[in-house]
């Protein structure tokens, strides 16, 4: 139990920036969604870690994490519904494809 808090934070930092990288560079919508999950996960870890290390007697961080997981589940389900729909009409799930929806 000698791991300092900054180790955890740096771990979530790596995860977070991996998510950012993936979100920017990926073209496939599902891959972008997965990057998003990474970002959310990093945030979750932060919440849990801060809660545990800084405010051990309370549970706000944990509950936020719980809610974020709930929202993420909802969001992912909806996003996948949309992606499937896009795939049906365009036969592709590249982000570029969605530009056409602007017009």
């Amino acid at each position: 139990m000698n791991i300092p808090m900054s180790f955890y934070i740096i771990l979530s930092l790596i995860m977070f920036f991996c998510g950012i990288y993936g979100f920017i560079t990926r073209k496939n919508l599902i891959a972008m969604l997965m990057s998003l999950e990474l970002i959310l996960n990093a945030v979750n870890i932060n919440f849990a870690v801060f809660n545990r290390f800084l405010f051990p007697g309370q549970m706000e961080g944990m509950f936020f994490t719980l809610f974020i997981i709930g929202v993420a589940a909802a969001e992912t389900a909806l996003a996948i519904a949309i992606i499937i729909n896009v795939f049906r009409s365009a036969d592709k799930i590249e982000a570029d494809e969605l530009k056409k929806m602007k017009y």
Binding site: I20, I24, T25, M32, A95, D96, K99
Partner: protein, 641 residues
């Protein structure tokens, strides 16, 4: 509102209404309907103008033996307490006389055009423009102030432009219309400047005030001068430039001969009888002001008039296009009126020139309209303007022949036709004032007789020309009827007691025939006719011999003494090349270049910026993250370090 003013207003509104009706719904109407609407409207206006003339001269106009002006107006634009532009109606002897002249000639032309323009494309448009012109000309003569006059003055210019360019598919007509518009526009600039200067120093636009003696006394104390001349001299001279432009005085006459590209009835209405005398009318309208404040300008007007009349008469002798001959004779006759105004004095018998000028304007309108309409009938049947193509037409067109002859005799000043009386008065006025002018005008009278009869013989006598299968024939009734009416008017208008009706101060005076003037003037007219008869009645070699002996002069006259060439040289070579071209270059490259540059860089920049709003979520995220990093770096750097 006064009934008489109401009548005048109705006279004005009928053509305006016709213009709107024909202009807006003309396409829907048949040719016949358009002709009937236009002609009937003008007929009513003519009758009303006779009614108002009758009421004025025999009724309300005369107060204590003097004709007073009747006016009514409302304020339109106020610049200061005294300086304001009004719109209104001003009825006095000359405006009433002009109403009669304009509506009569316009009615004749409307009637005549039914036949002349029969089946032409744009017939309704033609009538709409004619109505517009009539409206603006009527508005011009009843203007209560010089600015209202200027408004209608420009409207007249526009309708003249539209009618000259009526055959807008013909390049020469378009050019002529442009030329007329630009030249008169140029002159009108002078007029506008004059109006501005005048109103600046007198603080009024109103004719009534400008012409009142008491007001003029007050102006004598205004000592402002510019370049050695009083501001009023400048103002009236500039205003006269406007008048000279419209009335085709030297050197602004160049547009009038070209204006003959328009349909002939238009030439009769606008470029012979009404619009071109607007300049004379303008000077007459401001005559007391001219005479009392700036008599030197009046003298200048007289000499310009004399020069113009001589020039135009000489040029007319050498022209072969019959409409051009008539155009130059118009210039010459208008110059006559200008001379008469220039030599006139104010009041009583001294104002003979003023009266003579108006009288000549009145009679000239009828006989010149008659001449033009006859020429129109001839052109209509021959299909050409050139005298070479005509000959011996008296056999084919007896009515035209007789009416043309009457009008010719009138313009040549042979009694008892109207021209004699008015021209005689002008010569008397010139004789009493300035002998040089008198001899000049006397000589011009002879030339006038000569070239008119040269024209007459050229058209109606001589040999049959090759007319092909299409033999000339008399014009239809709706064309000959106006000719007959105008010829009849030419015969009788000379006997009108003009000196009792239209005078410089409103009071009647007696005129008596000056035999010392009348006899030589008739003699010179007869001489002119005789010479023309000898030379042109039957084929003779005399004209060729004479032209050969003065070949250089003849060619110069035929080319109108190269006025157009001089203008072309000045405009094209000097103004365009030396002034306009560098300015255009500056405009295109420096000013436009600057604007283009601005447009270019904002365009280029926008192209770059446009990329920012790509709609691509990933780019947004990238920018978003970068910005957050930069901003937090700044905050960290400033707050914590």
């Amino acid at each position: 509102m006064d009934t008489n003013l109401l009548i005048a207003l109705i006279i004005l509104l009928i053509p305006a209404f016709n213009f709107l009706l024909l202009g807006l719904c003309g396409v829907k109407l048949s040719h016949k309907a358009a002709g009937i609407i236009g002609t009937t409207g003008l007929g009513i206006a003519t009758i009303l103008s006779y009614v108002s003339a009758f009421n004025y001269f025999l009724g309300y106009g005369k107060v204590d033996g003097v004709y007073k002006a009747l006016s009514g107006s409302f304020q339109w634009l106020a610049f200061s307490d005294t300086l304001h532009i009004d719109l209104g109606l001003y009825l006095d002897p000359i405006s009433i006389m002009m109403l009669v002249v304009i509506s009569t000639v316009s009615f004749m032309v409307h009637l005549y055009s039914n036949g002349y323009m029969h089946g032409e494309r744009g017939f309704q448009r033609y009538y709409a423009f004619l109505s517009l012109f009539t409206f603006s000309m009527l508005g011009l003569v009843v203007a209560t102030n010089i600015f209202q006059m200027y408004i209608f003055w420009e409207l007249v210019g526009v309708s003249s432009y539209l009618l000259i360019g009526f055959y807008y598919t013909k390049a020469s007509a378009v050019l002529a219309a442009k030329k007329a518009f630009i030249v008169t526009r140029f002159a009108d600039l002078g007029m506008l400047l004059g109006i501005l200067v005048l109103s600046y120093y007198t603080d009024t636009f109103d004719f009534d005030i400008l012409n009142s003696t008491g007001f003029q006394e007050g102006l004598k104390s205004v000592g402002a001068t510019f370049m050695g001349a009083s501001v009023f001299t400048w103002a009236t001279a500039l205003i006269f430039i406007g008048g000279a432009g419209k009335s085709a005085m030297l050197p602004l006459h160049i547009w009038l001969p070209d204006a003959m590209e328009g349909p002939t009835p238009v030439s009769a209405l606008i470029h012979a009888a009404t619009m071109v005398v607007a300049g004379v009318y303008l000077v007459a309208r401001l005559f007391p002001f001219y005479f009392n404040i700036t008599p030197e300008v009046l003298t200048g007007i007289a000499y310009i008039g004399a020069l113009t009349s001589l020039y135009a008469a000489v040029v007319a002798c050498a022209q072969t296009d019959i409409k051009r001959v008539l155009a130059f004779s118009t210039i010459s006759q208008i110059a006559y009126m200008m001379v008469a105004l220039g030599v006139s004095k104010l009041g009583g018998h001294d104002g003979l020139g003023y009266m003579a000028s108006m009288f000549h304007l009145f009679t000239h309108a009828f006989f010149k309209a008659c001449l033009f309409l006859c020429a129109g009938a001839v052109i209509h049947t021959i299909g050409s303007n050139e005298m070479d193509k005509m000959g011996n037409l008296r056999k084919y067109m007896p009515i035209t022949h007789i009416t043309f002859l009457i009008a010719c005799l009138a313009i040549a000043g042979i009694p008892p036709f109207s021209g004699f009386f008015s021209k005689d008065e002008i010569l008397v006025a010139a004789f009493e004032d300035d002998k040089i002018l008198f001899f000049c005008q006397w000589f011009v009278a002879g030339l006038t007789a000569f070239y008119m009869f040269r024209l007459y013989y050229g058209i109606f006598w001589g040999e049959n020309k090759n007319y092909g299968e299409h033999t000339p024939h008399e014009a239809p009734l709706n064309m000959t009827l106006p000719l007959i009416i105008l010829a009849a008017l030419t015969c009788v208008t000379g006997f009108l007691p003009f000196s009792e009706l239209v005078t410089s101060d409103g009071a009647a005076f007696e005129i008596h025939t000056e035999w010392i003037v009348a006899i030589p003037s008739v003699l010179v007219g007869v001489c002119g006719i005789a010479v023309a008869t000898l030379m042109y009645k039957s084929k003779s070699t005399v004209p060729d011999k004479i032209t050969n002996s003065i070949k250089g002069f003849y060619v110069a006259a035929k080319n109108r003494f190269y006025f157009d060439e001089v203008y072309m040289f000045v405009t094209k070579k000097i103004i365009f090349k030396a002034i306009c071209a560098p300015i255009a270059w500056f405009d295109r490259h420096i000013i436009d270049g600057f604007m283009d540059f601005q447009a270019w860089w904002s365009n280029a920049l926008s192209y770059r910026i446009r990329g920012f709003q790509s709609g691509s979520l990933q780019t947004y995220i990238g920018v978003f993250i970068t910005s957050i990093l930069v901003i937090s770096a700044i905050i960290i750097a400033y707050v914590f370090i």
